[in-house]
Symmetry: C2
Amino acid sequence: MPLSSKVSEARVVFTPSGKRGYFPIGTSVLQAAQNLGVDIDSVCGGRGICGRCQIVQAKGEFPKHRINSKAENISPLCETEKAYAERPKKTLAEGRRLSCATKILADCVIDVPPDSQVHQQIIRKDAEAFDIEIIPPVQLHYVEVWEPNMYDPSGDLRRLREALEREWQLKNLRFGPGMLLSLQRELREGNWKVTVAVDYLGQVIAVYPGFRESLCGLAVDVGSTTVAAHLCNLRTGEVLASAGVMNPQIRFGEDLMSRVSYVMMHPEGAAEMTASIRGALNDLFANVAKQVKGAVEDILEITLVANPIMHHLLLGIDPVELGGAPFALATDESVRVRARDLNLTLHTNTRCYVLPCIAGHVGADTAGMILSEAPYQREAITLLVDIGTNAEIVLGNNERLLAASSPTGPAFEGAQISCGQRAAPGAIERVRIDRETLEPHFQIIGCDLWSNETGFAKASKKIGVTGICGSGIIEVIAEMYLSGILSTDGVIHGYTAEKTPRVVADGRTFSYVLHKGDQEIHVTQNDVRAVQLAKAALYAGIRLLMEHLKVKIIDRIRLAGAFGSHIDVKYAMVLGLIPDCDLLQVSSAGNAAGTGARIALLNYESRKEIEEVVRKVEKVETAVESKFQEHFVNAMAFPHKTDSFPNLAKAVELPDEKNMQNQTDTENIRKKRRRRKN
Amino acid sequence: MPLSSKVSEARVVFTPSGKRGYFPIGTSVLQAAQNLGVDIDSVCGGRGICGRCQIVQAKGEFPKHRINSKAENISPLCETEKAYAERPKKTLAEGRRLSCATKILADCVIDVPPDSQVHQQIIRKDAEAFDIEIIPPVQLHYVEVWEPNMYDPSGDLRRLREALEREWQLKNLRFGPGMLLSLQRELREGNWKVTVAVDYLGQVIAVYPGFRESLCGLAVDVGSTTVAAHLCNLRTGEVLASAGVMNPQIRFGEDLMSRVSYVMMHPEGAAEMTASIRGALNDLFANVAKQVKGAVEDILEITLVANPIMHHLLLGIDPVELGGAPFALATDESVRVRARDLNLTLHTNTRCYVLPCIAGHVGADTAGMILSEAPYQREAITLLVDIGTNAEIVLGNNERLLAASSPTGPAFEGAQISCGQRAAPGAIERVRIDRETLEPHFQIIGCDLWSNETGFAKASKKIGVTGICGSGIIEVIAEMYLSGILSTDGVIHGYTAEKTPRVVADGRTFSYVLHKGDQEIHVTQNDVRAVQLAKAALYAGIRLLMEHLKVKIIDRIRLAGAFGSHIDVKYAMVLGLIPDCDLLQVSSAGNAAGTGARIALLNYESRKEIEEVVRKVEKVETAVESKFQEHFVNAMAFPHKTDSFPNLAKAVELPDEKNMQNQTDTENIRKKRRRRKN
């Protein structure tokens, strides 16, 4: 270190980054930080207005850096800081300083606390999930623009550009022609002081008169049944408000294929459905904005996930090609589009980012799930499953990733089940059957008591016991199987009718009566068959991917979506929805697609990441794989005591193969009876 | 040259480029040309469909290249070429070959005729103007896209991208989300063969099913009074159709400032005027398309020029800021915008390019004039003048370029003149006054005879003599001055009334009767004053620029616009509208602004050129230059016999300074009379 610099310069070390350098005495801490590329936020450009650039001076000896960081090594609290702290809603905690107003007087160590960093982390509650690093897609920049004068005639836009370059080193920003319509007013209203929102592609999204410091964005999960939106603070990642709404397209068909059929039958069908979903989104956005007493115009960025058909309808693309082979997507790229081009009434320049689709049956929602779960960052072979009318299946690790869609049908959603219903108050969601008496007890949504607990009748009276929802169906059938009512290949044993009045003849087959009351709730042989078909389709898809990936064992399983979040993974494994796996490694991923949308919203670099990952995902089309049918047939039966289910066998007492014999016996008995009758 | 290449390779020289290289025997001539970067057109990508890549083999000895180019050195006429020539509207002239179907068999010399080059030249009739090189902003690319299949699920867009890269090496093209709406249909309608229109920025503008070979664009000059459009073939530059329409905004105010006033007075005024001009443009476009039996959807690119106020109104920007100091433009950059964002009903992706404005009073029309005239490419000091309600003045050469706007008022357009009218049949446009008798004769628009020729009465009967248009006003006042009726400072000499009955007392001043008849047409003292004010404003602006540029002599003058095209430059100089200059170097530039729009349409590189030039233009604001007032006062008088007008003095007999004295005498006489009366 030359002597001269000792006199006029000081040494500054920033923590936690460890970045360090020499700066002339009197340099502001913010300037020094920016000069070194320290991650520190600022909206107002060092004017002491935004308070984003707060730092704390570390004090004491730092022998490693040869610094004795004393209080007097930085300038004392100044008027700017006092004025800042006195402003409404602003505080400057003890020890906190505005780095823009603090000057370096001698060697010092400066800590940038997490809330002053641009790239903050969101810690996810789910222990199995990675944290989210915030890299906002839109950032605010406050500037003071030179006023026009007659001696140097230049456009408002040019002077704004010059200010952005002068104060923020932002060059070659793109101003859409729409920006010009309001620019004059915004500049004059703000008395030539404006805050400019610039997105990660260098596109100017908004110009606000005066100083502005908060920005928000929306993560939207457009499902076939429900549409959910989360309003997030783009800086902190905080979820400010959430709302959901039924997808109004349900009136065109409950499942996706019937909606595609509607489009095929009605020339204006696609346009109708597009208008319908966009209308619902607008209502939803207004609802969300209202919750925070904000305006929809404050939402500058949206990310969307959707299955391929919803994706196409939302974008106004005819989905008919997705209704038949070869199921060609119009595009498998991500789409960035102005919200207003989708007739979404937000800020005039709000941009939407729609995650990429993967294949005709594997959509942007699956891309969202992959982004949220990031199996491509792990060595463990991970299985991701999102079960709906179609089950999306992703299998692999950081070396290879495969995806497929299996046509599970709507059984898991309670459709095609005689007493099935959506997950709503009154629906049975948990079931246990006594192995000896074969008597059931259950829980319904909206009541914490089990049906065999005292007070249940009273507590459930208002709600009623109205049906069985998806997780209830899984449990009742699994329990029926475990208690010997069901055979390994899914027949309700007729002979159990002799042991319990719960099993009753039902035409040529038998039913299990789960609940007697005003509304009798039973599980029919057809119900069991429907679940078997669904679970066999899912399992066959998983087997297919395991074969393609050449793995026999799956290290971890994550179940996504509403259904995946509610089922008891043990019962899912008992029925053979998912392959044998250490039960501790099977967990719910929550609404992973929606979380993916939120990650893409808060971290724009994740967009490139998922775009690249998705390109490398190997698509397996179950419909053209002859092996799929084979796996499907093999997967109809339920797991029984063999070497194939070591983990499951540890958790439950699986029926043995004899169970199968019993069933065949029952069938034989029945056949004999029939013959006699004839 | 190694021996091996002699055996398997041949030498090819292309003319006129002179590019040359060695190619394997059997290479197609097109491939060789493209490999060397020879400027040769192709839409179909070498499939023998478009016929754009025609070449001619040069035959005989080329000692310089050591080539003896014999007919047999290229493959003979093949089936592809015969099939091409047999198609309707297609011909293959004697000696012409399709380079894509012609193979190189031995050393040869190949000529690429001008019509096979992408960069063609348009020779302009105006000897003073540079030719236009065509570098189309949009080009067509025919591709065959792979069909989707279930084993390799990928989106239509991706497969189209792959085809464009495979066949045309086009990468990273931008497909707006709007493209996705019709892509599926276009690909399937064309049986996976489509023609893709790509603009110079890599933006895909249109996808046409099947093969398509022609493209057109529009150059539009949005004037305050009239709007004109030229439909051009984007490849050849040919003007396919033209049309004009009155600017419907006239109902909001005849001149621009009254339209701005309307906006100030009416909250919806700007929106009304924007809708009005856009509506007129849509009508105009439909008209132009109809002329060629085409559809407006075939127009993929538009360029527009306009003065600043029309520019703002067209783009939907409030023009009020342009109505008062400091006359700040919303933007002085060029604007590229989708036609549909301006509510222009063309192809859904048609792009508009609006040339940059220069300053609050110097618009994109002036930028168009500068581009058309290219004074920045000449050493000669050039003065460009476009006279309207404001006169736009550009002065300079390849070193410096200055621009200003002078408030000439509407006198030159026939307004503020007692018998003034627009240039229309019946308007006097040419005037001569006998130096001895002071009798006039004139020509009217719509009749070739002079008023003193036999047959004039009969010929003009139907049309009538209805008023004086701009060029007529210039001529009559100049002739009045040259024949001694007017004094050097613009007073109608009372004593001339004694010499001719044409000069009559008119209140306290005198008038000159130009035409007696049903409708008497005269020139009043006020008319002379109005013209003096207008010409003094123009001249003062020019003087100001000459001072700024520090030049005393102007090498050449180009008069643009309707008025500039019709006036006799000699008379313009007699009145002192323009400074003294060699009359041979003063000429009309026609509708230079419109030509600029056409150049920007046909040669996209010219856009960058004018954008750069415009940035360097030094803006002089007449309103803040104190010298302007001084020049203005000095410019009120007409040129007389001095050393200041050497060129003009050669062309006409200018009155001498005595003329001035006479006038003073006349005024004195009149004053005396008045005093006596009182």
